[in-house]
Symmetry: C2
Subunit: 251 residues, 2 copies
Amino acid sequence: MTRGLTIFPVAGMPEVRPKDDLVGLVIAALAKAKERLADGDVVVIAQKVVSKSEGRIVKLADVEPSERAKTMAAEGNKDPRQLEVVLRETKAILRWERGVLICETHHGFVCANAGVDRSNAGQPDAVVLLPVDPDASAGRIRDEIARRASARVAVVVTDTFGRAWREGHTNVAIGIAGLPALKRYMGQTDPEGYELRVTEIAVADEVAGAAELVMGKLDRCPVAIVRGVAFAEPSETARDHVRPAARDLFR
Amino acid sequence: MTRGLTIFPVAGMPEVRPKDDLVGLVIAALAKAKERLADGDVVVIAQKVVSKSEGRIVKLADVEPSERAKTMAAEGNKDPRQLEVVLRETKAILRWERGVLICETHHGFVCANAGVDRSNAGQPDAVVLLPVDPDASAGRIRDEIARRASARVAVVVTDTFGRAWREGHTNVAIGIAGLPALKRYMGQTDPEGYELRVTEIAVADEVAGAAELVMGKLDRCPVAIVRGVAFAEPSETARDHVRPAARDLFR
């Protein structure tokens, strides 16, 4: 097998709670599974556990919904407190139709409900928010792994987003450290001399999706290792995946 | 390593030409690399070589552009003959702005230029079209592999499509045989009893993206094997990935 990839789940992670030492939990789970991180590995971590370890959980009982949230909640048959949290995480609303709310988050990501989610919060009547700065989260995790596990890895923080035109969600990169977001073929030509049609491949998103195949939603496996991805520095951020609104034809 | 995935490129494929025996070329390349297909493998094949083997190449010298193609070509600074081929492959135009043409193909896929591409055609002044029925192509390849390599594999035919809101293209499934398109969590709940927010994961698209990580655009590696994907029958088609226009908020 030449230039292949291997992807394996980090089994045995416990429920992650606020202020938990996430990197410590990952290292312990790997050790228990007799796995060891290697230089060049990409550690893929679901946003939910990153957010929980960072305390990005809001108890709905503590939320006072605005009039706007109350009105929209009545229209869409939603919890006004949860909708209030969504609106606070939202920079712009792209669509609000048939109870579906597609938002641009303060980071620039376009996704349903600004990434705010009630499932798998680890406690009742609470919602989990996206990290404040998922690229910074990825960077911190990467640095800690370098320090505590002596491995020079890349880190991708992921969430599962829907897309236009195609059914199903895919796992995408919302935080990146040590990996480029895009692989660029700009200006390169095929053997006949024609410029390539596709000039940028979203490699970090493809890594996120690949890892999802072993992660699963119900069996508490929020971390996977992707080994063998060929990438060169420099590192980019997940913001490099965000298409500037002025160049987006679908808003 | 438990429940892991391995992904490896099928190295050494020659340039594929019309009427070539694509499955024979794949089997020969695998044999030369001392690899062997196993039951449960997913064979991921770039659309370009499937289309070429099926003769889906149009020489631009043979194309008489319509008045509409001529007008649009002048507006967008494009080759009117190539645009004519694109329009023939198009069911509906979603956007035509700044020289970018986003189409719904006759299959229902939404992508730039209806998937018509001049690069890597293998001959000058020619364009490659998407297969007429990529699911049927995948099914034929799957059946032939079963017969000639005695392996019960799944097959995914892929192309790299752009998306709304995010930069870069990702590899997606446009033809599927022996694999579901979507993994469904509908009605399932988390430990607190909340229904999962994300209820459908586009697994075939994630498999396509994962395979792209080893395929590359310039080094002629149009085939990869993804080993270890856990999936149950029944098989679906790539049409299951297509969101019906009436339910799409971004047209």
